[in-house]
Symmetry: C2
Subunit: 338 residues, 2 copies
């Protein structure tokens, strides 16, 4: 493995000169620069980022911690974040973590390793304690992330998200306005401190506001999965027990797609025999038949707004804020008025 020492020797200069060339410093003679560059080129030398990170204080690196890569609309958010950050002169370094990893931990580690100026957490849980959160000492914002289940003091963190409960309420209301009263819900969990719970609460609220009694037997749950196949199985199983509903509210597009297959297989056409609505607005749901009616997340705005909040904090223009972005209704063909 070549080091700058080797390069220095081969180019007949000192390591500091090599380092200067590597970092595009101006104080190197053209002659030296040329020679060093040639040697680097010839030997395919790659400087060790590990060693650099250890030394360098990186003044403009922002970390992005993403939970789960399966989530289709994260791609758009990430793109938006990356370009907003780049535009502002910052560098983004992203880390994916697994579904059950602790993102605060990951953030703390990354902050240390990369000497970050700030962190954006994308799509995390919302039940961290102030002590846990305190482990990350640089400014951070929680993107696509609501704390309505949590117990955090609003002044202790920043976040950008939709209001999951409102979106769900709006979605269910859409169904009600189309004349539906017997409305089933497909959720992941109802008391799991996740987005599922919030959206479930929106469902309950919509019913309440329209004086429709909540019927527990119409609330179907996958357990805790948001996966399309689990939604399918949950729905399939539910349909053997009850069919006493004319519409279904699914807490996510993906789950709606799984549920729609189960409905069809049980002989219920969409939207003729059952209307379906969901939340998220992932790409594919716009291409299936019938096109899924859904409340879309403002993907790009979630990203750009997160960056804006973070940079405000870093550059001292403002403190903690919670920003709620509106969802937009995408009419589909999956709803029928009755």
């Amino acid at each position: 493995m070549l080091t700058i020492k080797d390069i220095a020797r081969l180019a007949n200069v000192s390591v500091s000169t090599v380092s200067r060339v590597l970092n595009d410093r101006p104080d190197v003679s053209e002659e030296s620069r040329r020679r060093v560059r040639a040697v680097i080129e010839e030997h395919h030398f790659i400087p060790s980022n590990t060693a650099r990170d250890l030394v360098r204080v990186n003044p403009d690196t922002i970390g992005l911690i993403v939970r789960g890569m399966q989530n289709p609309f994260y791609t758009d958010i990430i793109l938006a974040i990356e370009s907003a950050l780049e535009h502002a002169g910052y560098t983004m370094v992203m880390r994916q973590i697994g579904f059950s990893d602790n993102e605060i931990e990951a953030g703390a580690v990354m902050q240390r390793e990369k000497k970050l100026r700030g962190i954006i957490f994308l799509g995390g849980r919302s039940d961290y304690s102030p002590e846990e959160l305190a482990r990350v000492s640089v400014p951070y914002v929680l993107c696509s992330y609501t704390n309505a289940c949590g117990t955090l003091d609003k002044s202790a963190y920043s976040s950008v998200s939709i209001c999951d409960e409102d979106a769900a309420r709006d979605a269910v209301e859409q169904l009600i306005e189309s004349g539906h009263r017997r409305i089933a819900a497909l959720v992941a969990g109802t008391d799991d401190s996740t987005i599922s719970q919030l959206r479930y609460e929106g469902y309950c609220r919509a019913l309440r506001e329209h004086n429709i009694p909540l019927r527990e037997e119409l609330v179907f749950t996958t357990g805790d999965s948001f996966a399309i196949e689990d939604a399918y199985h949950a729905m399939d199983e539910a349909l053997t027990r009850t069919t006493d509903f004319t519409a279904l509210f699914a807490i996510a597009d993906d789950m709606a797609i799984g549920a729609m297959r189960a409905l069809r297989e049980h002989g219920r056409a969409i939207p003729d025999d059952c209307s379906v609505i969901a939340i998220d607005g992932i790409a594919v749901s716009e291409y299936i038949h019938p096109m899924l009616a859904t409340f879309c997340q403002p993907k790009t705005e979630l990203g750009t707004k997160s960056v804006e909040l973070l940079l405000d904090m870093i550059e001292g223009r403002g403190g903690h804020r919670q920003v709620i972005l509106p969802t937009t209704f995408r009419a589909g063909a999956s709803i029928r008025s009755i």
Copy 2:
């Protein structure tokens, strides 16, 4: 920022003892271990991986370079790789790269930073030169990755993939056997040295083998995108020019889904007016209506086989091999016999 030096001082031990505790070494007294652990806990100390990486020679770390995170079936491959690696006692570290990044470069960098024993490249291009490939000096395998367009010497690399051309041939043949003769193709590009070209060639071969003349006006292209919306637009545009086909072969499930919407919008029911088949077998295509007929990639096997090849090389059990895995036909409702 705390360092092990601080921890050592606070725990009244030397840095080496702290280091030993950090690395779960046996040669530490329970008393010291307890004290060190307590201090670490109390101060939320996180050791610097940067510093560790610089020093440590990591005897069992395998790198995984993934191009593009949008690809839905990569998730399954990655899971398979990770668990196979873990099972064999190796640690996986994954790096995502953008669509236009150079993965060999990324591999070379990662190899240096993480002191890798081997690398798996997932879903890359296939047109690297031997000189470029030579930059990675540890064993590597190219997963889900065919070289049929490339010019590499088979003895110079290992790979695991399906045969894209055969899969496409089989798919189109499926259509032919159902009685179709006027078969359109939706591709990304026909001479772009990617999977698209290989699958396009399979399409041509199927026609040739069945004495069906290739009609260029039935080959629709998105340019170079595999995105669902671009497939939709390409198909939408194509349908204003010609409708003289009874079946469509799309080179990817995603693209098929986009195309199906365009077909419907142009009044062509699936499969009654037009049959559709594709390649990949992504999750969602099994849930749409009609269920998409497709040739599925053996996702898990692609992962496990890649690990097997790599470990064989690392542990000296074998040299370079190219493994071709079979696809499996998933009958859908998107084909009609005529």
